[in-house]
Symmetry: C2
Subunit: 191 residues, 2 copies
DNA sequence: GCATCTGGTCAACACCCGTTGACTTTCACC
DNA sequence: GGTGAAAGTCAACGGGTGTTGACCAGATGC
């Protein structure tokens, strides 16, 4: 075999680096994260990170493609997409085992080095696939939905604004879902 | 006179530094902005910036207090606050003479060094004063409004998402206003 | 006229970063 | 079994950062 990806393999160095990058970039910003940390997590020398991915920016790009796969979520939305999206955004925080797909997006939104990569990623992996499910003014509605979701995500998870942190049974999720429903064009109950 | 602030004075070094900091931090992120740039803009040596403000973080704090004065805006809201807030958020971009109060907030939202300062600023200068004008669930509604406004601001001005950039006569402003009206608890027209 | 405090400068330190070139090890292939 | 490419390491470079201590000029107070 030349290089067929075996999912049960003991994880090659390159794969370990990518996994470590996804984990780091999901919890720290692009600027905050050093290649040396990622290399240490993967048990690899810094030079090899650069050798395997070309540059920090390209590694971030790979990590982004690997971690953000919103289209799957959008395609699986049922009869009440707004509520499902809100529930997915406000998923449980404690288990650091899983990485939420939007984390890596919102952590580095204001890092200029990552801006170019993020712009295309937000557009191609969020706005466009979501807009495909909408009717009138699709891309603008989808972009507005992205703005709402990311705004809540940033203020809640990055800035850790106490006013937005609450248990899963609270009223925040309902409010976000109702607002989202309005943005997406469905008739939603009054907030 | 010991130190009375004369508004027509030729601007002392400290004031020039503060003005330069506000201008820089409104267009670049905290990490992106170097003290040497600010010093050069103010026509002053780097060392004096540090001497006059103590640290970069404290300078950012001062700039934030100086540039973000949302309560004035909130107090001046008329009968249709949502529409006025949206109009204010989507203010003209070209004239770089004036600095919009939210710019300095959204540019550095994901810079960890600035996170602590930003958290209290967003809370004290945005959520709390806006919540004072609301009824039920005031702080959560206000925080949600902040999330929406900042989300749009970041995606539009920082990431420069083409789907959100449009002239002043477009439909984006109406959509944001209507969504905001729902979040703030007013009965708004369907989007 | 001396001391003093403020406003301001100059050069440098210590650190961290992404990146690179030279080197070694491993391993499949003929 | 030799060979050549891939996987991986080591040390270092070059540049940028916030920060600091020593120094200087000028106005002020006694």
């Amino acid at each position: 075999m030349t290089k067929t990806r075996d999912s049960s393999a003991p994880a090659s160095g390159r794969e370990r680096i990518l996994a470590a990058a996804v984990a780091r970039f999901s919890r720290q910003s692009y600027d905050e994260t050093g290649l040396r940390e990622i290399a240490a997590d993967a048990g690899v020398d810094v030079a090899y990170v650069h050798r395997a991915f070309g540059s920090k920016e390209q590694l971030f790009h790979e990590a982004l493609k690997c971690a953000v796969q919103m289209d799957k979520i959008f395609d699986a939305l049922g009869s009440d997409p707004a509520r499902m999206l809100a529930a997915h955004l406000l998923a449980e925080d404690e288990p650091d085992a899983t990485v939420r797909p939007m984390d890596i997006l919102i952590r580095s939104l204001t890092s200029p080095k990552a801006a170019a990569v993020l712009r295309t990623a937000v557009m191609e992996e969020f706005v466009t696939p979501l807009g495909a499910h909408l009717d009138t003014n699709a891309t603008q509605r989808a972009a507005l939905a992205a703005a709402l979701l990311m705004g809540v995500g940033i203020l809640r998870d990055v800035l850790e604004l106490p006013a937005l942190s609450e248990g899963p049974g609270g009223t925040l999720e309902r409010s976000v879902a109702d607002t989202l429903a309005m943005v997406l064009g469905q008739a939603g109950p009054k907030i």
